[in-house]
């Protein structure tokens, strides 16, 4: 018999739970339960810009025998254009990293809110990042944004900066959920990874649990945005929705992921 940890091929590093308030509707206990059912050895919570649900997730995972990873999907200030902030994923390796994450988020809320977003200044993360792993944020990260504009030089500059600061704790993120510009991003990011010898990591931004939840998720986003979707039944069940209130696109493949070989 082998332990689940040895058979694991993939660990979910991204999940917006209901504590992302707008952009996520996964109930923490359901999430952990589903992971336990599929014998996932570890699981991450990574709400948008907060740790609201972190302790609940931590307790719930621990009692289900799953290793909890505390992470946060953070807003990163875009020094060139404050209205187009970047995203990154920070994962706590240990108590030091956790305390630093608490501090960074607190700083973002108290000192650096812009248009209701609490943004981290890149300089804060360059200074002190012990105990934190950084994922590049795929297409929404600074590197990704530059690559989508074919600005390879800029992308490289960003990546080098993080590489210098985080060393082997910096990963370039790959996501495959059918974004129209996926191929462009992927070609560029694979090249960049090869060039700088950076590790790649696959993630999937979970925001809901079941295919049927997709509609509800969309409705919720709209509820919170106070706008009106006239006819939800016209919504396709995949990523081509024209009603995307956020730039994030969601492909409901979460359940598929759990089918262990």
């Amino acid at each position: 018999m082998s332990s689940p940890a040895q058979t694991a091929h993939f660990v979910h590093l991204r999940c917006h739970t209901e504590y992302s308030i707008v952009d996520g509707m996964v109930r923490v206990d359901d999430y952990v339960e589903a992971a336990a059912k599929d014998a996932m050895p570890a699981l991450a919570i990574s709400d948008l810009s907060n740790l609201f649900g972190a302790v609940k997730f931590y307790k719930s995972s621990r009692s289900a025998g799953i290793k909890p990873l505390i992470a946060c999907d953070v807003w990163l200030e875009n020094e060139q254009n404050r209205d187009q902030p970047h995203r990154a994923l920070l994962i706590c390796q240990n108590q030091t990293g956790y305390l630093r994450l608490c501090e960074l988020l607190s700083l973002a809320y108290t000192q650096n809110q812009h248009r209701d977003r609490a943004e981290l200044k890149p300089s804060w993360m360059l200074e002190n990042n012990d105990g934190l792993l950084m994922l590049s944020g795929a297409m929404l990260g600074d590197v990704g944004q530059a690559l989508l504009m074919n600005n390879v030089a800029q992308a490289e500059q960003y990546a080098r900066r993080w590489l210098d600061a985080f060393g082997d704790r910096y990963y370039l993120e790959l996501q495959r959920f059918g974004h129209p510009q996926q191929a462009l991003y992927e070609n560029n990011v694979l090249a960049l990874a090869a060039q700088l010898d950076l590790p790649l990591v696959a993630t999937h931004p979970v925001q809901f649990m079941q295919t049927e939840d997709f509609k509800a998720h969309e409705a919720r986003v709209w509820v919170m945005c106070w706008r009106i979707v006239a006819d939800l039944s016209s919504l396709p069940n995949n990523n081509t929705s024209k009603l995307k209130p956020r730039c994030k696109i969601c492909l409901p493949i979460f359940l598929v992921l759990y089918r262990t070989p």
Binding site: H9, F10, V11, H12, L13, E18, Y19, I21, M25, R27, P41, A42, A44, N50, L51, F52, V55, K56, K59, K67, L69, I70, C92, Q93, N94, Q95, Y98, L99, C102, E103, L105, S106, Y109, T110, D116, A118, L133, Y171, L174, R176, P199, L200, V201, A202, T203, H204, D213, K215, A216, A219, W222, V223, M224, R227, I228, V229, A230, D231, L232, S233
Partner: protein, 906 residues
């Protein structure tokens, strides 16, 4: 995912690698107390001891002014104090007590009213000595172990009540003392509740508002009801979800979203004080403007990560007490009496108990509900212990004990004790176990428990865990037998305790709240105007409550003077011990800032002379048109001009003149010079009818103030409604009565929806019950302010002891008039215009006919005609029977004048 990234296996492998690289262990369940800075770094323990003993000295001096008695009592207090200190020190909570004492005493020194205690903390003599609580635990047998149990280490938890307004000042103080980074409040997460989620989803699906509203209203009004429950409880909802496609989609989405976190808020009372930065434990969250700093974790999680929470609760009663006491003391000062203070208020004041016995307790803290009033009448409390017991008993469960309690108190039932040794413990509650403390003491006295052990027993009983209870039972019986009780008696006693422990109440909390209740009752008894003014001032946004308090003032002989633009201030103001001047802040749509502007203008420039003078002298940017209009509607200008309609019509003119005047004032004031002796005139419009005036008043004040809408109908109703509400008595025959609807409550019963409608006829109020069928038939009539004539059966209500009125028939005034009138008599004195008469009558003709098996017909018309020569009375034929609508009557009266149009009744 494996398939998706089969071409890049390292990207998958790295997710596993990352998981391996992370090894975060959160330390949960360990508390980190903030450090209390002592002067000259005296050890915390020594400082606590010094402060406590010094505080006790002061307490003893005021408790026992007679030094001989004081010395006699001293030992018991000092022993208890020393014992408590040793436990506190041993548990490491000296700093906690000092921190709490520090901010409470700061609040007291800085004029923020603080409650005498709350929760189990009132059982500590250390807390009493340090000024944290204001209730002598020894006098009321309050136990320290109920608060801090040496046998079970857990964080102490003082909940502190502050006056609502002062609470933020105390938090500011704490922030300044421990550092802004070390203090925050706590996040709380709002969830999407059943009704809200239905409305939200309805909006997103772009369904019509009324449609969605209809669905949302099907969800029963129960706190915390889930959609799933609603579908079970309201078959109509399930049926529609089943049959209607749109409802089905709405419900499906709503079910998925229900209960999800909807927003981040701030926990009502919790304040965190951290030994370092809050962010060393929890990230913080705040509004974009940097305000409302809260921990990102909710109250459970934030305590789990080690932060210590202090509950700063806002209690409005404290604000009321402080305001009322200030006014009362002004009255006392005027007559040369010394100021009162709550600390020295006698606790056995006869008139106060008289007020309680007569259940005259509207606005009295904790004792004002209808059920509580009924209980007060039965129990007739005559000592403070009775109040404590009533506060503790008035809850679901122990409520069943109230009749026994009352009978025993009044000697109608024998007071029995389950064991002779418990008599001293249960004596104050007439042999009935009411408090958790009593359970603890019984275990101590009968079975030799330590109080700490007894607290564990109490907890076990509360939790009802079988194994734990069996173990405790064995210990108890063994202990009791050792003390000389028979095994059977011990087991019986244990059973009894077990039964009561499940709903026993914390006496410390009951005693502290009983004290606040007593203080309010005392002020209501002796300074009713000051007390009611303060009560109303504290509730100015809720005109329904103002109405209730207003009625109570009237009942207690307090006159509430109408709002007056030249006398009223923002708050309700007691003028003397019998009169209160209406507060302008209680007018709908008037803000504090606007009222302050008005009062300031009056104080600098003297009384306002008229509406024009008023508008000219106030800052119209701060006092806008809406405020002026609401003042007029409320009658605040009556003393300057009684015609409110004219005032309202003149607002535009007054404002534009004031604005013009303002524009001209830079150049030599035109208006001021030339217009001074030639005041502008208000538009000439007729004054409102009384009915109209009342409706307008209600818009502003929220209720009818200067009169009652019933009075307008009274004369006509007297023709056929012979029973006033106050005269309703149980009898077989249905009775007809009438009143204006003042309130409606609906309730679901097995027989469908039922409404309990409060009717008011300016003399009294009666609640009547309207069943499902009538309710749906007359839904259009069952609304507030509607005059209803009802026929109902009056029976004795065993539950409330009063009467119960079951409505059989409902009429509005027109229907009642039509069913009771014999003739409409029209006197045409010289105005024989048959064509005009025909024109007026025709639209309302209702010839005899048979509909639905019942005879339907209009009212017969008699025309009286006389001129100088002769006089005739003609009864018109059945074809000319008419429906007696208000419009018909008004039309006829306009033509022939009031006295010539009469409805005659048999």
């Amino acid at each position: 995912m494996q398939d998706l990234f089969a071409d890049i296996p390292s990207a998958l492998q790295n997710t596993v690698e990352i998981a391996k690289r992370c090894n975060l262990s959160l330390v949960l369940g360990k508390n980190y107390l903030p450090k209390f800075p002592t002067p000259e770094n005296v050890p915390l323990e020594d400082f606590l001891r010094d402060q406590s003993f010094a505080g006790l000295q002061l307490r003893l001096q005021s408790l026992y002014p007679d030094s001989a008695i004081r010395e006699q009592k001293r030992a018991s207090y000092e022993d208890r104090l020393a014992f408590e200190i040793s436990i506190i020190v041993q548990m490491g909570f000296a700093g906690y007590f000092l921190i709490v004492a520090d901010f409470i005493n700061w609040a007291k020194r800085n004029g923020v009213p603080v409650g005498p205690g709350r929760g189990s903390g009132a059982g500590s003599v250390v807390a009493y000595s340090l000024g944290i609580t204001d209730l002598d635990p020894l006098q009321y047998n309050l136990l320290f172990e109920r608060f801090l149990n040496p046998d079970r280490v857990s964080m102490p938890d003082f909940d502190i009540d502050f006056c609502q307004e002062g609470r933020d000042r105390v938090i500011d103080y704490v922030r300044q003392k421990y550092g802004a980074e070390a203090v925050s409040q706590i996040a709380t997460f709002g969830t999407m509740a059943a009704k809200a989620v239905v409305r939200d989803v309805g909006r997103v699906l772009d369904l019509p508002f009324n449609f969605v509203d209809g669905i949302a209203k099907l969800i029963p009004n129960e706190l915390g009801i889930s959609l799933r429950d609603a579908l079970v409880k309201e078959p109509q909802l399930a049926e529609r979800a089943d049959k209607e496609e749109e409802v089905k989609e709405l419900m499906e989405l709503a079910l998925r979203l229900e209960g999800l976190t909807r927003n981040v808020g701030m926990h009502a009372g919790g304040v965190l004080i951290s030994p370092g930065k809050i962010s060393d434990f929890s990230p913080i969250y705040c509004q974009p403007n940097g305000e409302s700093v809260v921990s990102q974790y909710d109250k459970d999680d934030v305590e789990a990560v080690g932060l210590v929470k202090f509950d700063f609760l806002g209690l409005r009663t404290l604000t009321i007490l402080a305001m009322a006491l200030q006014d009362a003391n002004q009255q006392r000062a005027a007559s040369g009496q010394p100021a009162l203070s709550f600390e020295t208020l006698p606790i056995d004041d006869k008139p106060t108990y008289q007020l309680l016995k007569s259940a005259n307790t509207t606005a009295v803290f904790q004792l004002e509900s209808r059920g509580m009033k009924d209980m007060l009448k039965q129990a007739k409390p005559d000592c403070f212990e009775d109040i404590i017991a009533l506060v503790a008993l008035y809850r679901p469960g122990p409520m069943d004990l109230i009749p026994d309690f009352c009978r025993r108190k009044h000697g109608l039932q024998r007071v029995e004790y389950p064991h002779p040794a418990v008599e001293p413990i249960l004596k104050e509650t007439y042999g009935i176990m009411v408090y958790q403390e009593q359970v603890m003491q019984i275990a101590q006295v009968v079975a030799g428990y330590s109080l700490g052990g007894a607290d564990l027993l109490r907890r076990a009983m509360g939790k009802k865990k079988k194994e734990e209870m069996d173990a405790q039972r064995a210990v108890f019986v063994e202990g009791a037998v050792k003390q000389g009780t028979s095994e059977r008696q011990a087991a019986e006693l244990f059973d009894l305790m077990e039964r009561f422990a499940s709903y026993g109440f914390n006496k410390s909390h009951a005693a502290a709240y009983a004290l606040v209740a007593y203080h309010t009752a005392y002020l209501k008894t002796h300074y009713p105007a000051a007390f009611m003014a303060a009560t109303m001032s504290a509730d100015m946004n809720n005109t329904d409550n103002i109405h209730i308090f207003y009625d109570d003032c009237v009942r207690n002989g307090i006159e509430v003077l109408p709002p007056d633009i030249n006398r009223s201030v923002y708050k309700f103001k007691p003028i003397d011990d019998k009169q209160i001047l209406y507060g302008l802040g209680a007018l709908k749509g008037s803000g504090e800032a606007a009222i302050e502007v008005i009062v300031a203008a009056r104080e600098t420039g003297g009384d306002f002379k008229d509406l024009f003078d008023f508008c000219a002298r106030i800052d119209l940017r701060k006092v806008n048109r809406r405020v002026i209009e609401t003042l007029i509607r409320a009658g605040a200008f009556d003393r300057l001009e009684p015609n409110r309609n004219a005032l309202l019509a003149g607002v535009n003119l007054a404002i534009s003149m004031a604005e013009q005047n303002g524009a001209n004032s830079a150049q030599n004031s035109l208006f001021g010079d030339a217009g001074a002796d030639q005041a502008p005139a208000l538009p000439l419009v007729p004054a409102w009818s009384q009915q109209e005036q009342l409706q307008q008043e209600k818009l502003s004040l929220g209720f009818y103030f200067s009169g009652h809408p019933f009075t307008a109908y009274q004369q006509e109703l007297a023709n056929f409604v012979h029973t006033r509400l106050k005269d309703l008595k149980p009898q077989e025959q249905p009775q007809m009565t009438a009143g204006v609807v003042m309130g409606i409550r609906t309730r679901m019963t097995q027989r469908g929806k039922m409404a309990i409608v409060t009717l008011d006829d300016a003399e009294s109020r009666v609640e009547v019950v309207i069943g499902n069928e009538l309710l749906s038939q007359y839904a259009h009539l069952i609304k507030e302010d509607q005059l209803l004539v009802i026929e109902g059966r009056v029976s004795h209500d065993d539950f409330s002891g009063g009467i119960r009125v079951n409505v059989r028939k409902i009429f509005d005034i027109v229907a009642a008039r039509n069913s009771r009138a014999s003739w409409l008599k029209i006197s045409c004195n010289g105005q024989a215009d048959a064509i005009k008469l025909r024109e007026l009558l025709q639209p309302y003709c209702q010839p005899k006919s048979v509909q639905n098996g019942a005879q339907q017909s209009g009212c017969a018309v008699k025309v009286e005609y006389h001129n100088q020569q002769a006089c005739a009375e003609i009864l018109l034929g059945d074809a000319w029977r008419v429906h007696l609508s208000d419009e018909l009557i008004a039309g006829l009266k306009a033509w022939l004048s009031d006295e010539n149009v009469k409805i005659l009744y048999n």
